[in-house]
Symmetry: C2
Protein backbone atom coordinates (compact mmCIF):
# COMPACT_ATOMS: atom_id res chain seq x y z
CA UNK A 1 0.00 0.00 0.00
CA UNK A 2 1.03 3.50 -0.74
CA UNK A 3 0.69 4.69 2.83
CA UNK A 4 3.02 1.99 3.99
CA UNK A 5 5.51 3.00 1.33
CA UNK A 6 5.59 6.49 2.77
CA UNK A 7 5.87 5.16 6.29
CA UNK A 8 8.89 3.10 5.26
CA UNK A 9 10.37 6.06 3.45
CA UNK A 10 10.04 8.26 6.52
CA UNK A 11 11.57 5.67 8.82
CA UNK A 12 14.67 5.42 6.67
CA UNK A 13 14.98 9.10 5.80
CA UNK A 14 18.43 10.41 6.71
CA UNK A 15 18.48 14.15 7.18
CA UNK A 16 22.26 14.19 7.12
CA UNK A 17 22.38 12.68 3.63
CA UNK A 18 22.27 16.10 1.96
CA UNK A 19 24.36 19.11 2.87
CA UNK A 20 22.03 21.65 4.39
CA UNK A 21 22.73 25.34 4.96
CA UNK A 22 22.98 26.81 8.44
CA UNK A 23 19.68 28.35 9.52
CA UNK A 24 19.52 31.30 11.86
CA UNK A 25 16.84 33.79 12.87
CA UNK A 26 17.79 37.46 13.32
CA UNK A 27 15.40 39.98 14.85
CA UNK A 28 16.00 43.68 14.15
CA UNK A 29 14.50 45.32 17.22
CA UNK A 30 13.89 49.06 17.00
CA UNK A 31 12.82 51.57 19.58
CA UNK A 32 12.44 55.33 19.79
CA UNK A 33 14.26 57.15 22.54
CA UNK A 34 15.70 60.61 23.06
CA UNK A 35 14.41 61.69 19.64
CA UNK A 36 16.37 58.95 17.91
CA UNK A 37 15.61 55.65 16.27
CA UNK A 38 17.69 52.95 17.90
CA UNK A 39 18.35 49.31 17.20
CA UNK A 40 19.26 46.64 19.72
CA UNK A 41 22.69 45.09 19.12
CA UNK A 42 24.74 42.59 21.06
CA UNK A 43 28.49 42.19 21.17
CA UNK A 44 29.44 38.66 20.21
CA UNK A 45 31.51 36.73 22.70
CA UNK A 46 32.07 33.74 20.45
CA UNK A 47 33.35 33.08 16.96
CA UNK A 48 32.91 33.90 14.20
CA UNK A 49 33.12 37.71 14.20
CA UNK A 50 33.87 37.67 17.93
CA UNK A 51 33.77 41.09 19.62
CA UNK A 52 31.88 42.57 16.71
CA UNK A 53 28.32 43.84 17.10
CA UNK A 54 25.39 42.03 15.61
CA UNK A 55 21.68 41.27 15.75
CA UNK A 56 20.43 39.28 18.76
CA UNK A 57 19.67 36.14 16.76
CA UNK A 58 20.81 32.56 16.57
CA UNK A 59 20.08 29.02 15.49
CA UNK A 60 16.67 27.40 15.48
CA UNK A 61 16.32 24.95 18.37
CA UNK A 62 14.49 21.98 16.88
CA UNK A 63 13.55 20.65 20.32
CA UNK A 64 12.11 23.81 21.82
CA UNK A 65 10.97 26.10 19.02
CA UNK A 66 7.68 25.20 17.34
CA UNK A 67 7.95 27.98 14.74
CA UNK A 68 10.41 30.56 13.43
CA UNK A 69 8.62 33.26 15.43
CA UNK A 70 9.33 31.22 18.55
CA UNK A 71 13.02 31.29 17.72
CA UNK A 72 12.96 35.05 17.20
CA UNK A 73 11.21 35.68 20.50
CA UNK A 74 13.36 33.18 22.39
CA UNK A 75 16.59 34.73 21.15
CA UNK A 76 15.43 38.20 22.13
CA UNK A 77 14.43 36.98 25.55
CA UNK A 78 17.62 35.01 26.14
CA UNK A 79 20.08 37.57 24.91
CA UNK A 80 18.49 40.80 26.03
CA UNK A 81 15.52 40.03 28.27
CA UNK A 82 12.87 41.79 26.19
CA UNK A 83 9.65 40.57 24.51
CA UNK A 84 8.33 42.96 21.87
CA UNK A 85 4.62 43.58 21.13
CA UNK A 86 5.30 43.84 17.40
CA UNK A 87 7.13 41.19 15.40
CA UNK A 88 6.87 40.78 11.65
CA UNK A 89 8.93 38.80 9.21
CA UNK A 90 11.17 41.05 7.13
CA UNK A 91 13.08 38.99 4.58
CA UNK A 92 15.23 35.92 4.37
CA UNK A 93 18.83 36.36 3.29
CA UNK A 94 20.69 33.31 2.09
CA UNK A 95 23.85 32.79 0.09
CA UNK A 96 27.16 30.98 0.03
CA UNK A 97 29.31 33.76 1.42
CA UNK A 98 27.54 35.71 4.16
CA UNK A 99 28.81 33.40 6.91
CA UNK A 100 32.42 32.25 6.87
CA UNK A 101 31.41 28.83 8.19
CA UNK A 102 29.13 27.71 5.40
CA UNK A 103 26.24 28.45 3.07
CA UNK A 104 23.92 30.25 5.42
CA UNK A 105 20.30 31.35 5.59
CA UNK A 106 18.94 33.88 8.04
CA UNK A 107 15.24 34.55 8.48
CA UNK A 108 14.97 38.16 9.63
CA UNK A 109 12.25 39.88 11.61
CA UNK A 110 11.47 43.49 12.32
CA UNK A 111 10.43 44.02 15.94
CA UNK A 112 9.34 47.13 17.78
CA UNK A 113 9.16 47.87 21.49
CA UNK A 114 8.87 50.76 23.91
CA UNK A 115 12.28 51.86 25.10
CA UNK A 116 13.50 49.98 28.13
CA UNK A 117 16.86 49.18 29.60
CA UNK A 118 18.36 45.95 28.40
CA UNK A 119 21.30 43.89 29.58
CA UNK A 120 23.43 41.07 28.27
CA UNK A 121 21.79 37.89 29.53
CA UNK A 122 23.87 34.90 28.43
CA UNK A 123 27.39 33.75 27.82
CA UNK A 124 27.41 34.18 24.05
CA UNK A 125 26.79 37.89 24.55
CA UNK A 126 29.32 40.27 26.08
CA UNK A 127 27.10 43.30 25.97
CA UNK A 128 23.69 44.45 24.72
CA UNK A 129 23.03 48.04 23.74
CA UNK A 130 20.56 50.35 22.05
CA UNK A 131 22.47 51.87 19.14
CA UNK A 132 21.23 54.96 17.30
CA UNK A 133 21.30 55.06 13.50
CA UNK A 134 24.16 57.56 13.72
CA UNK A 135 26.27 55.42 16.03
CA UNK A 136 25.69 52.45 13.74
CA UNK A 137 28.14 53.87 11.21
CA UNK A 138 30.96 53.73 13.76
CA UNK A 139 30.49 50.19 15.08
CA UNK A 140 32.13 47.14 13.54
CA UNK A 141 29.16 44.97 12.51
CA UNK A 142 29.20 41.18 12.21
CA UNK A 143 28.31 39.33 9.01
CA UNK A 144 25.94 41.29 6.73
CA UNK A 145 23.99 42.69 9.66
CA UNK A 146 24.53 46.28 8.57
CA UNK A 147 22.80 45.56 5.28
CA UNK A 148 19.97 43.75 7.07
CA UNK A 149 19.38 46.69 9.42
CA UNK A 150 19.25 48.92 6.34
CA UNK A 151 16.51 46.77 4.82
CA UNK A 152 14.54 46.77 8.08
CA UNK A 153 14.80 50.53 8.37
CA UNK A 154 13.63 51.00 4.78
CA UNK A 155 10.63 48.73 5.38
CA UNK A 156 9.74 50.65 8.51
CA UNK A 157 10.00 53.88 6.50
CA UNK A 158 7.47 52.48 4.03
CA UNK A 159 5.12 51.57 6.87
CA UNK A 160 5.34 55.11 8.22
CA UNK A 161 3.80 56.26 4.92
CA UNK A 162 0.61 54.23 5.17
CA UNK A 163 0.21 52.96 8.74
CA UNK A 164 0.92 53.80 12.37
CA UNK A 165 2.91 50.63 12.98
CA UNK A 166 5.82 52.76 14.26
CA UNK A 167 3.67 53.50 17.33
CA UNK A 168 4.76 50.12 18.70
CA UNK A 169 8.17 51.70 19.25
CA UNK A 170 6.56 54.09 21.75
CA UNK A 171 5.34 53.49 25.32
CA UNK A 172 1.77 52.32 25.84
CA UNK A 173 0.63 55.91 26.25
CA UNK A 174 2.05 58.49 23.91
CA UNK A 175 1.22 61.89 22.44
CA UNK A 176 0.48 62.70 18.81
CA UNK A 177 3.47 65.05 18.55
CA UNK A 178 5.70 62.18 19.71
CA UNK A 179 4.30 59.82 17.10
CA UNK A 180 4.65 62.48 14.43
CA UNK A 181 8.28 63.11 15.37
CA UNK A 182 9.00 59.40 15.07
CA UNK A 183 7.40 59.30 11.63
CA UNK A 184 9.37 62.36 10.60
CA UNK A 185 12.61 60.71 11.62
CA UNK A 186 11.70 57.53 9.76
CA UNK A 187 10.73 59.46 6.63
CA UNK A 188 13.55 61.95 6.87
CA UNK A 189 11.23 64.86 6.20
CA UNK A 190 8.84 67.15 8.11
CA UNK A 191 5.13 66.34 8.08
CA UNK A 192 2.14 68.62 8.25
CA UNK A 193 0.77 68.45 11.77
CA UNK A 194 -2.77 68.83 10.49
CA UNK A 195 -2.55 66.08 7.87
CA UNK A 196 -0.95 63.70 10.27
CA UNK A 197 -3.54 64.17 12.99
CA UNK A 198 -6.52 64.29 10.66
CA UNK A 199 -5.98 60.88 9.09
CA UNK A 200 -5.39 59.22 12.46
CA UNK A 201 -8.52 60.82 13.92
CA UNK A 202 -10.70 59.92 10.94
CA UNK A 203 -9.57 56.30 11.05
CA UNK A 204 -10.23 56.22 14.82
CA UNK A 205 -6.99 54.39 15.52
CA UNK A 206 -6.24 55.84 18.94
CA UNK A 207 -8.18 56.30 22.14
CA UNK A 208 -7.81 59.17 24.55
CA UNK A 209 -6.32 57.93 27.82
CA UNK A 210 -7.82 60.91 29.63
CA UNK A 211 -4.35 61.98 30.76
CA UNK A 212 -2.15 64.79 29.50
CA UNK A 213 1.55 65.37 29.53
CA UNK A 214 3.28 68.71 29.92
CA UNK A 215 6.88 68.44 28.81
CA UNK A 216 7.98 71.89 30.03
CA UNK A 217 6.35 75.11 29.06
CA UNK A 218 3.60 74.91 26.52
CA UNK A 219 0.18 73.36 26.33
CA UNK A 220 0.07 69.78 27.62
CA UNK A 221 -0.45 67.09 24.98
CA UNK A 222 -3.14 64.44 25.18
CA UNK A 223 -1.87 60.94 25.90
CA UNK A 224 -3.34 58.32 23.57
CA UNK A 225 -3.34 54.54 23.50
CA UNK A 226 -3.53 52.41 20.34
CA UNK A 227 -6.89 50.73 19.84
CA UNK A 228 -6.88 46.98 19.19
CA UNK A 229 -6.14 46.31 15.54
CA UNK A 230 -4.77 49.76 14.79
CA UNK A 231 -1.43 48.26 13.81
CA UNK A 232 -3.13 46.40 11.00
CA UNK A 233 -4.80 49.49 9.54
CA UNK A 234 -3.44 50.79 6.25
CA UNK A 235 -4.45 54.15 4.89
CA UNK A 236 -5.74 54.21 1.33
CA UNK A 237 -3.52 57.10 0.49
CA UNK A 238 0.16 57.48 1.40
CA UNK A 239 1.86 60.48 2.85
CA UNK A 240 3.89 61.85 -0.03
CA UNK A 241 7.32 60.48 0.53
CA UNK A 242 8.82 59.38 -2.78
CA UNK A 243 7.59 55.85 -3.10
CA UNK A 244 9.72 54.29 -5.80
CA UNK A 245 10.74 50.94 -4.38
CA UNK A 246 13.63 48.94 -5.71
CA UNK A 247 12.69 45.96 -7.91
Amino acid sequence: MQTNDEQTFLEHYDKQAYDAPLVTVDPVLFTYHAEQLKVLLVQRSSHPDRQMWGLPGGFVDLQHDATLEDTALRKLREKTGVTPPYLEQLHTFGNATRDKRSWSVTVCYTALIAHQECAAHIATVMDARWVSMQQLEMLPLAFDHGMIIGHARERLRQKALYSIVPAYALPEKFTLPELQQLHEILLGMPLQKKSFRRRIEQAELLEDSGEKRADSGGRPATLYRMKAGSGAHTFLRNLSGATETEE
Copy 2:
Protein backbone atom coordinates in the same frame (compact mmCIF):
# COMPACT_ATOMS: atom_id res chain seq x y z
CA MET B 1 46.26 36.64 17.64
CA GLN B 2 42.56 37.05 17.35
CA THR B 3 42.52 36.44 13.61
CA ASN B 4 44.29 33.14 14.12
CA ASP B 5 41.79 32.19 16.79
CA GLU B 6 38.99 32.60 14.32
CA GLN B 7 40.92 30.70 11.66
CA THR B 8 41.33 27.80 14.07
CA PHE B 9 37.69 27.98 15.03
CA LEU B 10 36.58 27.84 11.42
CA GLU B 11 38.84 24.89 10.62
CA HIS B 12 37.34 22.83 13.43
CA TYR B 13 33.75 23.95 13.00
CA ASP B 14 31.45 20.96 12.56
CA LYS B 15 28.23 21.84 10.82
CA GLN B 16 26.69 18.52 11.80
CA ALA B 17 27.12 19.22 15.50
CA TYR B 18 23.72 20.89 15.75
CA ASP B 19 20.47 19.60 14.36
CA ALA B 20 19.48 21.86 11.52
CA PRO B 21 16.06 22.13 9.88
CA LEU B 22 15.51 21.09 6.28
CA VAL B 23 15.70 24.09 3.95
CA THR B 24 13.72 24.25 0.74
CA VAL B 25 12.82 27.00 -1.70
CA ASP B 26 9.30 27.09 -3.18
CA PRO B 27 8.36 29.40 -6.05
CA VAL B 28 4.68 30.21 -6.59
CA LEU B 29 4.56 30.92 -10.33
CA PHE B 30 1.42 32.64 -11.61
CA THR B 31 0.26 33.39 -15.11
CA TYR B 32 -2.89 34.76 -16.73
CA HIS B 33 -4.52 32.71 -19.44
CA ALA B 34 -8.01 32.25 -20.79
CA GLU B 35 -9.30 34.94 -18.41
CA GLN B 36 -8.07 33.01 -15.40
CA LEU B 37 -5.27 33.29 -12.90
CA LYS B 38 -3.27 30.07 -12.91
CA VAL B 39 -0.48 28.67 -10.79
CA LEU B 40 2.15 26.18 -11.91
CA LEU B 41 2.04 22.92 -9.98
CA VAL B 42 3.93 19.66 -10.33
CA GLN B 43 2.87 16.17 -9.38
CA ARG B 44 5.39 14.65 -7.02
CA SER B 45 6.90 11.34 -8.09
CA SER B 46 8.80 10.75 -4.84
CA HIS B 47 8.03 10.71 -1.14
CA PRO B 48 6.78 12.31 0.91
CA ASP B 49 3.32 13.22 -0.38
CA ARG B 50 3.98 11.22 -3.54
CA GLN B 51 1.39 11.72 -6.31
CA MET B 52 0.10 14.85 -4.68
CA TRP B 53 0.46 18.25 -6.36
CA GLY B 54 2.85 20.86 -5.06
CA LEU B 55 4.99 23.87 -5.79
CA PRO B 56 7.98 23.33 -8.11
CA GLY B 57 10.58 23.80 -5.37
CA GLY B 58 13.25 21.81 -3.63
CA PHE B 59 16.41 21.79 -1.58
CA VAL B 60 19.18 24.36 -1.83
CA ASP B 61 22.20 22.92 -3.66
CA LEU B 62 25.18 24.21 -1.70
CA GLN B 63 27.58 23.43 -4.56
CA HIS B 64 25.71 25.10 -7.40
CA ASP B 65 23.44 27.78 -5.95
CA ALA B 66 25.10 31.03 -4.93
CA THR B 67 21.90 32.53 -3.49
CA LEU B 68 18.33 31.57 -2.62
CA GLU B 69 17.12 33.23 -5.84
CA ASP B 70 19.42 30.90 -7.75
CA THR B 71 17.71 27.95 -6.12
CA ALA B 72 14.28 29.28 -7.01
CA LEU B 73 15.21 29.84 -10.65
CA ARG B 74 17.05 26.53 -10.93
CA LYS B 75 14.11 24.56 -9.59
CA LEU B 76 11.72 26.25 -11.99
CA ARG B 77 14.04 25.57 -14.89
CA GLU B 78 14.70 21.95 -13.94
CA LYS B 79 11.15 20.96 -13.15
CA THR B 80 9.20 22.93 -15.70
CA GLY B 81 11.60 24.55 -18.17
CA VAL B 82 10.54 28.16 -17.54
CA THR B 83 12.47 31.25 -16.37
CA PRO B 84 10.20 34.07 -15.16
CA PRO B 85 10.93 37.81 -15.62
CA TYR B 86 9.50 38.60 -12.18
CA LEU B 87 10.65 36.91 -9.00
CA GLU B 88 10.21 38.34 -5.52
CA GLN B 89 10.54 36.79 -2.13
CA LEU B 90 7.16 36.21 -0.51
CA HIS B 91 7.63 34.83 2.99
CA THR B 92 9.45 32.08 4.82
CA PHE B 93 7.39 29.41 6.51
CA GLY B 94 9.08 27.29 9.12
CA ASN B 95 7.81 25.04 11.88
CA ALA B 96 8.13 21.60 13.38
CA THR B 97 5.16 20.00 11.67
CA ARG B 98 4.80 21.16 8.06
CA ASP B 99 7.02 18.38 6.73
CA LYS B 100 6.63 14.86 8.05
CA ARG B 101 10.37 14.28 7.83
CA SER B 102 11.57 16.98 10.19
CA TRP B 103 11.47 20.59 11.32
CA SER B 104 11.36 22.33 7.99
CA VAL B 105 11.84 25.81 6.58
CA THR B 106 10.72 26.88 3.13
CA VAL B 107 11.67 30.21 1.60
CA CYS B 108 8.86 31.09 -0.80
CA TYR B 109 8.89 33.31 -3.85
CA THR B 110 6.17 34.82 -5.99
CA ALA B 111 6.99 34.61 -9.69
CA LEU B 112 5.10 35.84 -12.74
CA ILE B 113 5.43 34.89 -16.37
CA ALA B 114 3.59 35.15 -19.67
CA HIS B 115 1.57 32.02 -20.30
CA GLN B 116 3.51 29.30 -22.09
CA GLU B 117 3.29 25.57 -22.33
CA CYS B 118 5.27 23.71 -19.72
CA ALA B 119 6.23 20.08 -19.33
CA ALA B 120 7.57 17.80 -16.64
CA HIS B 121 11.33 17.90 -16.99
CA ILE B 122 12.92 15.57 -14.46
CA ALA B 123 12.42 12.32 -12.64
CA THR B 124 11.11 13.75 -9.37
CA VAL B 125 8.18 15.23 -11.30
CA MET B 126 5.47 13.13 -12.93
CA ASP B 127 3.61 16.02 -14.47
CA ALA B 128 3.61 19.83 -14.57
CA ARG B 129 0.43 21.83 -15.14
CA TRP B 130 -1.06 25.28 -15.02
CA VAL B 131 -3.88 25.08 -12.48
CA SER B 132 -6.58 27.73 -12.24
CA MET B 133 -7.64 29.05 -8.83
CA GLN B 134 -10.92 27.16 -9.22
CA GLN B 135 -9.28 23.84 -10.03
CA LEU B 136 -6.98 24.31 -7.04
CA GLU B 137 -9.82 23.44 -4.68
CA MET B 138 -10.17 20.00 -6.25
CA LEU B 139 -6.53 18.90 -6.27
CA PRO B 140 -4.83 17.09 -3.39
CA LEU B 141 -2.01 19.46 -2.40
CA ALA B 142 1.25 18.43 -0.77
CA PHE B 143 2.46 19.81 2.57
CA ASP B 144 1.10 23.29 3.35
CA HIS B 145 1.33 24.41 -0.26
CA GLY B 146 -2.33 25.37 -0.44
CA MET B 147 -1.83 27.85 2.38
CA ILE B 148 1.32 29.21 0.72
CA ILE B 149 -0.47 29.76 -2.59
CA GLY B 150 -3.18 31.60 -0.65
CA HIS B 151 -0.58 33.96 0.81
CA ALA B 152 1.00 34.55 -2.60
CA ARG B 153 -2.37 35.32 -4.12
CA GLU B 154 -3.21 37.76 -1.34
CA ARG B 155 0.12 39.56 -1.79
CA LEU B 156 -0.47 39.79 -5.52
CA ARG B 157 -3.93 41.21 -4.80
CA GLN B 158 -2.32 43.93 -2.70
CA LYS B 159 0.11 44.74 -5.49
CA ALA B 160 -2.78 45.10 -7.92
CA LEU B 161 -4.02 47.97 -5.72
CA TYR B 162 -0.91 50.13 -6.01
CA SER B 163 1.26 48.85 -8.88
CA ILE B 164 1.13 47.19 -12.26
CA VAL B 165 3.32 44.27 -11.21
CA PRO B 166 0.60 41.84 -12.43
CA ALA B 167 1.55 42.89 -15.98
CA TYR B 168 4.46 40.44 -15.72
CA ALA B 169 1.86 37.68 -15.97
CA LEU B 170 0.98 38.93 -19.48
CA PRO B 171 2.87 38.57 -22.77
CA GLU B 172 5.44 41.22 -23.67
CA LYS B 173 2.80 43.15 -25.61
CA PHE B 174 -0.63 43.47 -24.08
CA THR B 175 -3.67 45.72 -24.17
CA LEU B 176 -5.01 47.89 -21.39
CA PRO B 177 -8.33 46.03 -21.25
CA GLU B 178 -6.35 42.80 -20.75
CA LEU B 179 -4.37 44.28 -17.89
CA GLN B 180 -7.52 45.68 -16.34
CA GLN B 181 -9.28 42.30 -16.54
CA LEU B 182 -6.33 40.69 -14.77
CA HIS B 183 -6.47 43.29 -12.00
CA GLU B 184 -10.21 42.80 -11.69
CA ILE B 185 -9.75 39.07 -11.24
CA LEU B 186 -7.02 39.62 -8.64
CA LEU B 187 -9.13 42.14 -6.75
CA GLY B 188 -12.38 40.28 -7.16
CA MET B 189 -14.22 43.43 -8.17
CA PRO B 190 -14.86 45.55 -11.29
CA LEU B 191 -12.69 48.62 -11.86
CA GLN B 192 -13.52 51.91 -13.55
CA LYS B 193 -11.95 51.84 -17.00
CA LYS B 194 -11.21 55.54 -16.84
CA SER B 195 -9.52 55.46 -13.44
CA PHE B 196 -7.43 52.48 -14.38
CA ARG B 197 -6.16 53.97 -17.63
CA ARG B 198 -5.67 57.46 -16.25
CA ARG B 199 -3.27 56.53 -13.49
CA ILE B 200 -1.19 54.34 -15.80
CA GLU B 201 -1.04 57.08 -18.45
CA GLN B 202 -0.12 59.79 -15.96
CA ALA B 203 2.69 57.69 -14.50
CA GLU B 204 3.93 56.93 -18.03
CA LEU B 205 4.47 53.28 -17.22
CA LEU B 206 3.73 51.83 -20.65
CA GLU B 207 4.87 52.56 -24.18
CA ASP B 208 2.78 52.21 -27.30
CA SER B 209 4.13 49.37 -29.42
CA GLY B 210 2.53 50.91 -32.50
CA GLU B 211 0.50 47.76 -33.07
CA LYS B 212 -3.16 47.08 -32.40
CA ARG B 213 -5.11 43.95 -31.74
CA ALA B 214 -8.64 43.26 -32.88
CA ASP B 215 -10.09 40.37 -30.91
CA SER B 216 -13.29 39.97 -33.00
CA GLY B 217 -15.79 42.71 -33.57
CA GLY B 218 -15.13 45.99 -31.87
CA ARG B 219 -12.48 48.64 -32.04
CA PRO B 220 -8.94 47.22 -31.95
CA ALA B 221 -7.00 47.83 -28.73
CA THR B 222 -3.55 49.38 -28.63
CA LEU B 223 -0.77 46.97 -27.70
CA TYR B 224 1.55 48.32 -25.02
CA ARG B 225 4.87 47.25 -23.60
CA MET B 226 6.06 47.91 -20.04
CA LYS B 227 8.74 50.57 -19.79
CA ALA B 228 11.91 49.72 -17.88
CA GLY B 229 11.31 50.15 -14.16
CA SER B 230 7.52 50.20 -14.38
CA GLY B 231 7.32 47.14 -12.19
CA ALA B 232 8.93 49.11 -9.38
CA HIS B 233 6.48 52.01 -9.56
CA THR B 234 3.99 52.36 -6.74
CA PHE B 235 1.05 54.72 -6.95
CA LEU B 236 0.63 57.12 -4.07
CA ARG B 237 -3.01 56.29 -3.80
CA ASN B 238 -4.55 52.80 -3.86
CA LEU B 239 -7.52 51.66 -5.85
CA SER B 240 -10.23 51.27 -3.25
CA GLY B 241 -10.21 47.62 -2.41
CA ALA B 242 -10.62 47.15 1.32
CA THR B 243 -7.10 47.41 2.58
CA GLU B 244 -7.21 46.01 6.09
CA THR B 245 -4.29 43.63 6.25
CA GLU B 246 -3.96 40.98 8.90
CA GLU B 247 -1.48 41.71 11.70
